[in-house]
């Protein structure tokens, strides 16, 4: 089936207006040798009912998280999504709209982006945020590019304790710009400050630290920031937005750029995307921000309105001299994040952070009762942590699925060692009963 409304009579009317006899003629400028002489080799089309049956079948081959209980983390989290978020992002005036190029008839999207920028600033304690980036990892890469552009230096440092996939993305983005990426090793599951000191020369543009880090631990962000600043570099922190209901915001400990993954804010897990990367900076760096930014202005009658602004940073104006190539972003996911923050509000953010902290700490205390489960590090953590057992972690994951649970990532899923280690996480969405049953399942799986 298709969605083409043109009847045969209307087609003939159009052809007459154009002055041709057939649609074929409109393609006459495509050289004969370049035309496809056969049908595309694709499955036959379907009606809506057939399609839905097929899509349900495919979806049915997955075991989703209303069926399995989620104790997985590692950059994507099973936080509660309030029903009203869906209502907001299901307004087709929003979701079938384009980037707001004609401001006067897209004030809806523009105001929501302005509000999103403000909310991200309120969360992070930074001065200015952009309208979103693809995800937390690419936001980290863009953040590091800002440090190079601002300092004119071409070497950056990344803490080994950052999400391995984020480190890979930063490395890939920066290597192609001729920027060297060095890793600052970990000690006891957090950044090794002495090693940082050794690697800091006055050629370092910036340092990336994730806080809480990939292992769930809190990082010595104040010390790390002071150290990199002393060498004239900038400090970039990747944060879990939910943690900011409890933890000090990056703006309070000297971060120059704050980035992060916004999925936890009202976006479904959706097998890894679409999510949203947020990026916020100190005032001084505003003209180095990548991507869309919305600003407030007025019309001729002095009425307040919003427009895309500072566009001379962007690819459609500046072309090869733009701050980034980004054009399409994650606006609808940013809208979900805004609606989420508006709904839960000042009090709710503190609650969701506190509840996640409590559930994760209860989970850890229960797991510690088992002689088969070890926690390699004893650092302060927020909502996830690392455990090791005698089993390969992927084997443990599979056994847990049989008992109705999902945990991870296994270190081997993200290229880390040892293969017996994995992440476990508990958010406010987990109940005591689920946690107790999960601990039983782990004990059972590791005791076999």
């Amino acid at each position: 089936m298709d969605y083409i409304p043109t009847t045969p009579e209307q087609r003939d009317h159009m052809l007459r207006t154009i002055g041709v006899d057939s649609v074929e003629e409109l393609f006459a400028d495509i050289p004969e040798t370049l035309r496809l002489k056969r049908r595309l080799d694709l499955p036959q089309g379907m009606t809506e009912a057939e399609l839905l049956r097929h899509m349900r079948e495919l979806a049915g081959k997955n075991r989703h998280l209303d069926e399995l209980v989620c104790f997985a983390g590692g950059g994507a989290y099973d936080h509660i999504v309030p029903a009203a978020v869906r209502t907001v992002i299901s307004r087709s005036e929003f979701y079938t709209s384009y980037t707001p190029y004609q401001a006067e008839i897209t004030q809806g999207v523009l105001q929501t982006i302005f509000e999103y920028q403000t909310l991200i600033c309120q969360l992070t304690g930074m001065d200015v945020a952009n309208a979103s980036l693809y995800d937390g990892a690419s936001a980290a890469a863009e953040g590091m590019i800002i440090t190079c552009a601002h300092t004119g230096r071409s070497r950056v440092l990344v803490a080994e304790t950052c999400h391995p996939e984020y480190r890979q993305v930063v490395e890939t983005y920066l290597r192609h710009q001729g920027i060297a990426v060095d890793t600052v090793p970990a000690r006891e599951g957090v950044i090794d400050l002495e090693a940082l000191d050794e690697r800091l020369e006055n050629d370092v543009a910036g340092l990336l630290v994730q806080h809480p880090n990939f292992f769930g631990h809190l990082e010595p962000v104040r010390e790390a920031g002071e150290t990199v600043h002393a060498a004239g570099g900038l400090f970039v922190v990747s944060v879990d937005p939910i943690s900011l209901g409890l933890l000090a915001p990056p703006g309070s400990y000297g971060a120059d750029v704050a980035v992060g993954e916004g999925q936890s804010l009202g976006n479904h897990l959706s097998f890894g995307g679409p999510y949203l990367g947020f990026l916020a900076v100190r005032e001084e760096l505003v003209r180095r921000i990548p991507g869309r930014i919305v600003g407030e202005t007025v019309d001729a009658q002095g009425r307040r309105g919003y427009v895309l602004t500072l566009q001379t940073r962007e690819q459609h104006i500046r072309r090869e001299r733009a701050t980034s190539n980004i054009c399409t972003n994650q606006a609808l996911n940013a809208l979900a994040a805004s609606a989420y923050l508006a709904l839960i509000g000042k009090e709710g953010l503190q609650e969701v952070a506190r509840l996640s902290f409590q559930k994760a700490h209860y989970l850890a205390s229960r797991l510690e009762e088992s002689s088969k489960v070890r926690r390699p590090w004893q650092q302060p953590y927020f909502k996830e942590f690392v455990i090791e057992t005698d089993l390969p972690a992927t084997e443990l994951q599979s056994r847990l699925v049989q008992e109705g649970f999902v945990a991870g990532p296994a270190f081997s899923q993200v290229g880390l060692a040892p293969e017996t280690a994995l992440i476990v996480c508990a958010t406010e969405a987990r109940t005591k009963r689920e946690i107790d049953r999960f601990v039983e399942a782990v004990t059972h799986a590791t005791g076999r």
Partner: protein
């Protein structure tokens, strides 16, 4: 008619909540014992405090001040604002897709992997290429990855000196920006009098420094580059590769394939050609398809099938360029595009392109008497007019665009491509009915007449929108990029 909508921050009341989290049902740990005080937030984040109804009203009111495909024709050139089928939304909303964690064991996500496996093959068949990566989150992201592959390919052959990318002067801004982001120098190639790339100039500029060429075909003028075979040969003979910007692929589905034209890498904008919603600016997806020779450089993980028919993520890819994002791409967008392709099948997709081209040519002929048409030949899925004639009357293209808003119609893309003076770039898409095409044409024709009769009305437009023409210069000169509480705002102003 349209009241101003206060910001979230100007609404609500202290203590109000729009959502209740469950009470704590586990024995509590003392936060102050578990976390050293220097890590803790001193003041709560100053978020708004609203009830659920206030939040819903806020957004519903804002949505009513927003234009969208579901409201009316959205003829933005090079954006392919076609209808977004609702069944695809329903499919993506199935818990079996929406409620999956990216690190679930592979045996629990076989349906998701199967969908990705087949979508990759569908896109390869449509492109005429061999393998694809679904990781890029947008067209520009695909461009960046494609250019990285070009770099890796040349490096694997010991040809690191190739540091130039050829790009036509009609290209999308993302092309040169992506090239620069990948560390390349941009060599701009002028267009010829038919609107194609100047072949003589391509031949003159290719050489041992050439890494590749990026081209949109049909190009941003909506014209098919007839010389593509000669261009491809010149670039290949010089040792370079060809990158196809798929922003305009809505014109060629099942009709001509970039791989057959000689392109080595293609990105598709799933949010354009394959109907996934634009979301007010995103999310999209920009998968790239490549030749066999380039496949080893695609980033990990790829989705592969075992002899027993099960699917898995291949993470071991020693020659891969590296990741460009976390996880596996914008999966929810992939689900919608997969559903779109399955619904249409081969005949349906070909009908899509035939009608996209038919509709564009029809509109072009209806408007040609009233506006300058710089390249007068059959267009593909879009065409470009020039507002030169109107400019002589003191009315700029931006004025015409703003006046269209008064007719309740979103304006086309304007001032792009850069090689056309006062450009008006129109892409109606195949899903617009004749009546909508005619209404758009009538509005444009009336505006052309207003320019003659009453240019002031056009120059001061829009008149019937929630706000009048907004002062963009002021927004850029004195940036206000966030709300601040009134007291803080005054203090900040005084500091300056």
């Amino acid at each position: 008619m349209f009241e101003a909508t206060p910001l979230l921050f100007e609404s609500g009341a202290p203590g109000r909540k729009g959502f209740a989290f469950p009470p704590c049902d586990v024995p509590e740990t003392s936060i102050h014992e578990a976390i050293p005080p220097e890590f803790l937030r001193e003041e709560p984040a100053p978020l708004p405090e609203l009830s659920e109804l206030e939040v819903i009203r806020h957004y519903v009111r804002l949505s009513r001040k927003n234009y969208a495909v579901d409201v009316g024709i959205y003829p933005l050139g090079s954006c392919t604002m076609k209808y977004n089928p609702k069944v695809n939304e329903e499919a993506a909303d199935l818990p079996g897709f929406k409620r999956l964690h990216p690190y679930q064991p592979e045996e629990t996500v076989q349906g998701a992997l199967e969908l990705m496996y087949h979508l990759e093959r569908f896109l390869c068949e449509i492109a005429g290429l061999d393998r694809a990566s679904l990781q890029p989150s947008a067209g520009a992201h695909g461009e960046l990855l494609g250019l990285m592959l070009i770099k890796a390919y040349h490096a694997s052959r010991g040809e690191e000196g190739r540091d130039e990318i050829l790009i036509p002067d009609s290209a999308h801004g993302t092309n040169p920006a992506s090239a620069a982001m990948c560390g390349y120098k941009v060599v701009e190639i002028p267009s010829d009098e038919r609107g194609g790339m100047d072949v003589k100039e391509v031949k003159r500029r290719v050489g041992p420094k050439t890494a590749g060429l990026m081209l949109t075909n049909p190009n941003t003028l909506g014209l098919f580059d007839e010389n593509i075979a000669a261009i491809a040969q010149a670039v290949h003979d010089a040792g370079g590769l060809l990158y196809y910007d798929g922003a305009n692929a809505n014109a060629i589905l099942g009709i001509s394939r970039p791989g057959d034209m000689g392109f080595d890498i293609v990105h598709f904008n799933l949010h354009k050609t394959f109907s996934t919603p634009h979301g007010g600016g995103g999310p999209g997806a920009g998968p790239i398809a490549v030749t066999k020779e380039l496949a080893p450089f695609l980033p990990a993980p790829t989705v592969e099938r075992r002899p027993d028919g099960s699917f898995y993520l291949e993470r071991h890819r020693p020659q891969a360029v590296g990741r460009i994002r976390s996880f596996y791409g914008n999966f929810g967008v992939l689900v919608r595009a997969y559903a779109y392709i399955r619904a249409h099948g081969p005949e349906g997709l070909r009908r899509v392109s035939e009608h996209a081209v038919l509709h564009a040519n029809y509109l072009m002929r209806r408007l040609a008497p009233y506006f300058d048409l710089p390249y007068d030949r059959h267009c593909k899925h879009e065409f470009v007019l020039s507002g030169k004639r109107q400019k002589q009357r003191g009315v700029r293209t931006t004025d015409i665009a703003k006046r269209l808003l008064d007719y309740g119609i979103h304006a086309p893309t304007i001032y792009f491509p850069l090689i056309v003076d006062e450009a008006i770039m129109i892409e109606p898409t195949e899903t617009e009915p004749l009546e909508a095409l005619d209404a758009f044409a009538e509005a444009m024709i009336q505006i052309a007449q207003e320019v003659e009769r009453d240019p002031e009305t056009v120059k001061s437009a829009p008149h019937r929108t929630p706000v009048g023409r907004l002062d963009e210069a002021r927004a850029a000169r004195r940036p206000v990029l966030r709300w601040r509480p009134p007291a803080e705002d005054t203090a900040a102003t005084q500091e300056r």
